[in-house]
């Protein structure tokens, strides 16, 4: 039970994971967190990764998003093998191709919310090239306008000039989503984005992610919460560092309540 091949049937894969393992040799005793993972994620897909604590969900997310490197195996993101890239190229991938939403909303406290959101986009706008691709130039004003529109869309435009200690957790997490989207990446990764929020705020954040997905952006999310996972097109279930199984959401016509019931039943069958 070490592989999974349920690629999105209709769309081209943006992420290809081949035989990925991750060991922490410095731990005492050394541990294997991921064990020979194989999976593909299609363009525009919304994939949730679930599993018990310590099953390797976050480690998998870090490995496939370019935040960390696997011990063995290859990760292909938008046609690039991340395991072959040097640090500088990896940074460029993080800047231009992916957005990441953490469980804790990590922000720079000396900047206001808007500047925090704008930071990667401004940085990306300064870059002239990404790999062999020549990037279209963007002015600072254009970046500023786009970020403001993004924040308005996620209903935090009115607190844009506030400090990060002045707004609620939900607003912060939506700002984190805005930041992840600011440089218009192809894929958004979210590591338990609602883990530190109450249910009302969780709803806000999931609505925001759903909005992002609706625009065609690929979303890969780690979550504990079946209600959040039910928003995804597909759920990959991890156990002890291996892909145990995967759930594919019923057709688009199914209501959110039906999807939740369906997923809950599927999870219960697997002892979750």
């Amino acid at each position: 039970m070490s592989s999974e091949h349920a690629t999105h049937e209709t769309q081209e894969a943006v992420i290809r994971v081949r035989n990925v393992s991750k060991n922490f040799d410095s731990a005492e005793p050394p541990v294997t967190v991921l064990n020979n993972i194989n999976m593909e994620i299609g363009a525009g897909e919304f994939v949730a990764v679930m599993g018990a604590s310590g099953s390797g969900k976050s480690t998998l997310l870090y490995a496939i998003s370019g935040m960390d490197r696997p011990t063995t195996g290859t990760v292909e993101l938008l046609g690039k093998d991340l395991t072959e890239l040097d640090e500088r190229s990896m940074s460029a991938v993080r800047l231009h191709s992916v957005g990441f939403v953490f469980q804790q909303p990590y922000f720079l406290t000396h900047l206001n919310l808007r500047d925090n959101v704008m930071l990667p986009a401004l940085k990306a706008a300064e870059s002239k090239r990404f790999g062999r691709r020549r990037l279209p130039g963007r002015t600072k004003a254009e970046v500023q306008g786009r970020v403001q529109r993004l924040m308005d869309r996620l209903e935090i435009g009115h607190v844009a000039h506030h400090g990060v200690t002045e707004v609620s957790g939900g607003q912060l997490q939506r700002a984190a989503i805005c930041r992840a989207l600011a440089s218009e990446p192809a894929v958004i990764f979210a590591d338990e984005p609602t883990g530190a929020l109450n249910s009302a705020m969780s709803e806000e954040v999931m609505d925001a992610l759903a909005q992002v997905h609706a625009t065609g952006t690929t979303v890969v999310m780690v979550t504990h919460d079946p209600a959040c996972a039910a928003r995804a097109d597909r759920v990959v279930y991890l156990s002890d560092g291996e892909v145990l199984d995967s759930w594919v959401a019923p057709g688009r016509a199914a209501s959110q309540i039906d999807r939740k019931h369906h997923l809950a039943q599927w999870l219960a069958d697997r002892g979750f």
Binding site: Y62, S91, F107, H110, D115, L119, E126, T165
Partner: protein
Amino acid sequence: MALCLVIALSALLMATGAVVIERVSGSVDALFEQAKPPHFLQMHAGDYNVHALQDFADQHPDIEAWQIHKMVGYDGAAVSWQRPATGQSGSLSESLMDNLFVTQNPEFDLLLGQDGTAVQPGPGQVFIPVAYQKQYGLQKGDSLTVAGTDTRLRLTVAGSIRDAQMASSMSSSTRFVVSDTDFQQLASAHGGAAEIIVEYRLSDPSLIPEFQRSYETRTDLPHNGQAVTYPLIRLFNTLSDGLVAVALVGVSAVLILIALLNLRFVIRGSIQDDVRQIGAMKAMGLAPADIRGMYLAKYRVLSLLGCVLGAVLSVPAAHWLTRSVAESYAQAGLTVVTVLLPVVAVILVHLVVMTVSRVILRQINRVEVVTALMHGSTLPPRQRMRNLRAQRRAAHRTRLIHRGWGSTTMRLAWLDIRTQRRQWALLPVVFALAVVVITVPTNLLTTLTDPRFVTHMGSPQADVRADIQFGNDLDAVQSDLTAAMDQDARLDNVRTYANLRFETLGSESAGEHGANPQWETLRVEVGDYSRGTVDFLTGQAPGDGHIALSALNAEKLGVQVGDQLPVRRDGVTHQVPVSGVYQDLTSGGYTAKMQGQLSADADSYVVLADLATPAKTNDDDAATAIAQEYNQRFTAAEVRPLEGFLRQSLSYVTDAVRTTAWLALAFGLLVAALITTLFLKLRLARDAQQMGVLRAVGFSPREVRSQVIFKVLVAATPGVVIGAVAAHWSGQGVVGALLSQTGLGFSHLTFLVHPVLVWGGYPVALLTVGVGCAAVAARAVGLNPMSAQLKEQ
């Protein structure tokens, strides 16, 4: 570790400074005890009245002993040395000192061998000054030939002597001891200049000023040379090595300050890091004193380690610095003080560190359990809220987008350091102090070695200086010499000054409006001051009928520019307005200058000349060659290249200051490097999460590292600039004030700086060290996985 090293450096310098002070002082004490230098001496050349001297001695029961010390002086070019074993030879012509041949004194002013006893050379033997032994490598058994115009005397070097009176650099003379028979031969030979020193030992050294005044009021006593007192002799002896010791203690004081600032940063950081544990300990019921005790124990060990390391290293350091002290002076025995003084110095460093640690650790008292556990803050709720509000206000004000200002990476670094300026304040302060430590000794060194420094010493700047003070017909010598120089195409701007003795009302009378007025001698240099002269501290050069006073004289007489000074000569008294006050290190610092025609019968003359432009450009040593030529033509005059003489006469002091400057440079750079490394290590650990965020959103490790380097540059640069300005302005004030305490005649010091070094080289060197350390410390940024960095808090 870095903190421990800074404490060790502070302790090392403090202990070394203490040992050097004790050794120099002890060695000079020992030398003075054995050699018994005179309490007052008067140099003289020419005829003198022995009966007047005897009469003066009879009238002064406070004289314990007195003697007329006879000397015969030879120019360096007339003295040569040979080493028969190797065939090596040379002459003392490079030396600009007066080489005085003497016999051993019977009672006091003894010239001591290396074993501390008075040397007694046999016929054909000579004992040479320690300075020459070092300068020319002369050894026992070498030959020394003294050439008169018609005779040559060959002597054998029997050893070197320690000379309490003339060992110091400040003395322009040095003594060789020969037997009575050889002295008679040297004295009777043509080519030598006979001089005497009248020397007195007093029963009570505190009577020296009064005794000097009494001597100078007697016109029938020998007087056409310099008068020197015991405190001045002692000061000259201790100045060069003492200066090093004082500088070491000064540098150490700055290092202690740096260590304490650093300590504050480390302790506060450590309390912040452990605040939840502190909160938990308080919640469990531990008293703040107990918690403080735990931290204090750690810093006690750190401080003790540093102090012990510093104390151990100070033993070889002090030995190295004082290696020449025992040779020049006497071997002072090891006493309890020798051991205790550095130990006390190190204990003092430890106590200061511990006291400051205790004060900083009081912050633990203010940590509140709930705030600490819930918010991880060391601050009371109200202050925490105040800080939060300030942080919010700052966030409202910041704008990442700024018109035309650098890249986002640098803009972000700038905003970060602007917001966290209090946390970064340590770096500019440390760099400012490091610049002061490095620059002040260098400024002192460049000042002492600058040709313009002569104007600070009371002598106008000139290329050649001739002193005519010994001989029977000074007026004729002066007139011939001036005429020869005037006709010499190689020389230009020849001017002559006559030293005359006036009398003025003493300081007692000046302060008490004429009560008990007492006339005392005032040495006045008369000549033309209209064509450029010394630098004046206040006022200007004297015009007709005006007088300018040296700073020491102005202070002693209690007069200022514009005041009237009563002066008397040949029984006629005039009220002369004071036109200006200048600094003078010559003639003990008590001099005066008057505009006027040269008069005959002066005590001595000074003739100054500049090199004509062709000579100046053709040959750097032209002044030396011309001086030598005139010395041979006019044996009664002493002609010197002024710059060369200054360099040689100040060489001991400049050598000592040069050692200090090198040490200070090394320590300053080392400390800047240590503190920058320590600071960044702690800062980067605290900013790990923030750097993790930057990497997560797409900043490369290289860009994050460049932010660290940029922040170090931004923090250190104003420190370096402020330090350089402070070193220039307050440094010269402090050093000037210290030197004015020496009584040498320094009342004011203007640094003559090497601008490229002080405003360019040193700041760039320090900033390079800071950037280098930042680059090394920031290497860690790319080494840790980002996920680990994000979890740091």
